[in-house]
């Protein structure tokens, strides 16, 4: 007999006139790890809110631990003891791990905090996870994986029987993902259930028993991960996207023998240990950081904020220095949140990295008019007069990538470009990166997990402990571990190539 932990039954949830969840059905049993694969973002945030709090429903029933906690006739706005771990930290930075776990817990009533006692109480929980984590370490000093584990322990200590994990692979490296899976299995065997939200079926398949596919706020189907259903997953909402992946052979060949757009020779800085990477113009290279250590160091180097401890970075065959900063365009992760300035106009946002190409562009209206008339067919005429914060997400992505295009760098460094993007957005980002490549700009994608980067890549470089560990050419992609996104596709492509000489 199964023990039900969560049942969201025929939920229709409306907010501000928009239907967020539409006949939504999801059930999770005790000790089960269920995957949730949102094809688009519609209703995902609303579902998380509904899990946390019993908000008024248009229709439907929510049962938690076998008890009806919310239904369409009566919603008491109470909170459910369900843990949600997001890619953004939910810990208080200036508190220690033990404080975060115990002191911020609901129902903690003690007036005097005895740190030693808390540390001692935390020890068994940390030992259970098998992760070396100091109980008195401050949350702000933790990297992504220990932070994730702390939040997990916090949810367990708080008595949550269901924990939602929001896209763990977007912040946890491949090597640590295995450890996380082991910990999740351990807790699952103790009866704790998990809802594992992931954009990729291949990732969910590694750990989940079932995966629910969510389209436009409804669960279209729940598939058993023991079966082999990728074909079925590719045949509905993501069809156009799949077709793009299948057509991924880029028509423009990578020019061989020309001066590399970017070269790193014996580069050392921070966690980077003797890194040697070379990217040709118009080539797309994915640099996968297997233990998520070097990405922040690389960003610091490419944005000019830091200089290498030793070794050199060359752009177009010449040393990368302060006066050649515009040779590299860094596109941060989730750029619509980090790279747009609401206090500036659209035109200013678009042109502010153009200073090296057009002198005094801020004071001259003629070049701005020229840029506007040139880009209007591509971006739309109306956007130029719109405040940046009112732009749609699609327009914001267009703005960020067009800025990089106008900058005309030798290399564009994209940090986890597909992170948190739904299918429609992934398609757009794909096209925008392809546009950079078509202009002969080299693209270096810095990634913790591969997500969809592979489908654009000419080469994959895996970095472990700050040094190159493995290099895969496109024809070797089929030899990657099965957890790699689109692995089945690469395997089929490889098989076809062998059968069709």
């Amino acid at each position: 007999m199964k023990e039900e932990v969560l049942r969201m039954d025929r939920i229709t949830f409306r907010e501000q006139g928009a239907t967020e969840l539409n006949h939504f059905c999801l059930d999770i049993d005790a000790g089960e790890i269920v995957g949730l694969i949102p094809v688009n973002d519609t209703g995902l945030a609303a579902m998380i809110r509904l899990l946390r709090q019993n908000l008024p429903l248009h229709y439907g029933y929510v049962y938690y631990r076998g008890k009806l906690v919310n239904h369409w006739q009566d919603s008491d706005l109470s909170y459910n003891r369900i843990g949600v771990i997001e890619s953004r930290s939910g810990l208080a930075d200036d508190l220690t791990v033990a404080d975060n776990v115990f002191v911020l817990r609901q129902g903690f009533r003690k007036l005097f905090i005895r740190r030693k006692v808390l540390n001692r109480q935390l020890e068994p929980f940390l030992r259970e996870t098998g992760v070396a984590l100091a109980a008195d370490a401050y949350a702000k000093d933790l990297s992504a994986f220990p932070r994730f584990i702390t939040e997990l322990v916090k949810a367990v200590v708080a008595g949550c029987r269901l924990i939602v994990l929001m896209e763990p692979a977007s912040v946890i490296s491949d090597t640590r993902l295995g450890t996380l899976q082991r910990i999740l299995r351990h807790y699952a065997s103790a009866g704790i259930s998990f809802l594992y939200v992931s954009r990729h079926y291949e990732e969910a398949r590694q750990i989940c028993t079932r995966a629910a596919i969510m389209v436009n706020g409804q669960i279209a189907k729940t598939v058993s991960t023991a079966d082999t259903p990728p074909e079925t997953l590719q045949c509905f909402g993501v069809e156009a996207y799949t077709q793009m992946v299948r057509r991924q052979e880029r028509t423009k060949a990578v020019p061989m023998g020309s001066t590399p757009a970017l070269e790193m020779r014996n580069l050392r800085y921070g966690s980077i240990r003797s890194l040697n990477v070379c990217v040709a113009p118009g080539e797309c290279v994915v640099l996968q950081d297997l233990n998520n250590h070097i990405i922040s160091d690389l960003i610091a180097l490419f944005s000019g904020a830091r200089k290498p401890a030793s070794g050199t970075i060359l752009t177009g065959g010449r040393p990368f220095a302060a006066k050649r900063l515009r040779d590299v365009a860094v596109i941060q992760q989730q750029p619509t949140q980090t790279m747009l300035f609401p206090e500036l106009s659209y035109m200013d946002n678009l042109c502010f990295t153009l200073d090296h190409r057009i002198a005094n562009i801020w004071r001259r209206s003629a070049p701005q008019q020229s840029i506007r008339s040139e880009l209007a067919p591509m971006l739309g005429e109306a956007v130029f007069d719109q405040p940046v914060e009112t732009l749609s997400q699609q327009q914001q992505y267009d703005l960020v990538y067009t800025r990089a295009l106008l900058q005309r760098p030798r290399v564009a460094v994209c940090v986890q470009p597909f992170m948190g993007a739904d299918v429609e957005r992934r398609m757009q980002i794909w096209k925008l990166i392809e546009r950079l490549l078509e202009k002969g700009i080299a693209v270096l994608i810095l990634a913790v997990n591969l997500a969809d980067s592979l489908s654009l890549a000419d080469r994959l470089i895996q970095v472990l402990g700050g040094a190159v560990q493995a290099v895969y050419e496109r024809e070797d992609f089929a030899t990657l571990p099965p957890s790699a996104p689109w692995h089945d596709f690469w395997a089929r492509t490889e098989k076809q190539a062998r059968n069709d000489p």
């Binding site: 039900e4 025929r10 059905c25 006739q73 079925t232 509905f236």
Partner: protein
């Protein structure tokens, strides 16, 4: 006196009277008061009374009114047959009588009989004298055996068993075992048409099998869904088709998942079908049973709602070219006495 305040009309009248009394008291006091300080005190008291009145107005009048309006809206949208019943507040005594009349017209017993008749009608499509039908089928079977046509005899026998269950078994609730047997009989008949192209797989955890098979569910719950799976799912599929009936239970809930690996349906059709299931009350209110597909599903869903309540019922999951799952949720009951609305069985 307090009983009268279940009507919004009386509450409104009460508020108007209270407001008039406050104003009257204020005017009287103003006329009597001579000093300016007394005036200020009076105005402050009046203001406080007004604020208190408006707060009461919000909680006693505005909020119940919005809630009532929302309930009526849901009822009219077909979401629920019981929402009117559950409302503690009425607009006026006349509207209360009107609600009582509507409730009576849509009584569960009446609707259940109507729904059952529809199910039998759909199964038969003709009003045939059952005894005449069984005797004829027996005769055909005998003739087939004499002529050495074993398959025809088997087919006729299966058909007779199926009709006996569908027409002559009068109970509303049957055991899961009986319902599964009927599914297997129906499947035997279909296999004469589809041959090895069609397979049926019934899955149930061995430790739960005995309890689950003894559970009571509405008659003709599974067969119409299985039929739907064959007609709309596997029939259009190229190659072999598999139908799976998976039974699971928790302490309070029985879940039956009827899956096919057929052509499935797109997101829009799926959403429309689930909307019809959620708004199944509408099928009774507006004679719309032939609008769109899924009539059998709506019928089964209605009968479950009427017998066990709206928190149980059907839900459909589907992806194009990846099959369809129909999930049925029912309470775990093993005798008619456990039924919450037992009168509907009478």
């Amino acid at each position: 006196m307090l009983r009268r305040f279940k009507y919004l009309s009386h509450i409104t009248l009460g508020f108007f009277m209270a407001e008039a009394l406050i104003v009257l008291a204020l005017v009287t006091c103003c006329l009597l008061a001579s000093r300016q300080e007394a005036w200020q005190v009076l105005l402050s008291v009046t203001l406080a009374l007004q604020i208190a009145l408006f707060i009461l107005l919000y909680f006693w009048l505005a909020r119940p009114y919005w809630r009532l309006e929302w309930m009526i809206g849901l009822f009219l949208d077909g979401y629920s047959l019981t929402s009117l019943d559950n409302s503690n507040l009425q607009l006026s005594p006349v509207t209360e009588r009107l609600t009582g009349y509507v409730k009576n017209e849509l009584s569960a017993n009446r609707l259940l009989k109507l729904s059952k008749r529809q199910a039998q009608y759909r199964a038969l499509q003709n009003q045939i004298n059952p005894h005449f039908l069984y005797n004829t089928l027996e005769s055909i079977r005998s003739e087939a055996l004499v002529a050495g046509l074993g398959s025809v005899a088997d087919m006729t026998e299966a058909l007779a068993v199926f009709f006996r269950y569908t027409i002559s078994k009068v109970e509303n609730l049957v055991t899961v075992e009986e319902e599964l047997q009927n599914c297997e009989t129906y499947f035997r008949i279909q296999q004469y048409r589809f041959g090895p192209r069609l397979r049926l797989n019934i899955q149930c955890a061995p430790e739960d099998k005995e309890v689950i098979y003894r559970c009571r569910i509405p008659k003709l719950t599974l067969q119409p869904i299985l039929e739907n799976g064959i007609i709309h799912g596997t029939e259009f599929k190229i190659g072999a088709g598999m139908l799976t009936v998976k039974l699971e239970r928790t302490a309070k809930l029985l879940t039956i998942l009827v899956s096919d690996d057929g052509v499935g349906m797109d997101e829009h059709a799926l959403s429309q079908l689930n909307e019809r299931l959620d708004q199944s009350g509408r099928a009774f209110q507006e004679d719309k049973e032939d609008a769109g597909g899924g009539v059998a599903l709506v019928n089964v869903n209605n009968r479950i709602h009427l017998l066990f309540g709206e928190e149980y019922g059907l839900h459909v999951f589907s992806i194009p070219m990846a099959g369809t799952d129909v999930r049925i949720t029912l309470p775990m009951i093993q005798s008619n006495r456990e039924l919450p609305s037992g009168e509907v069985l009478l």
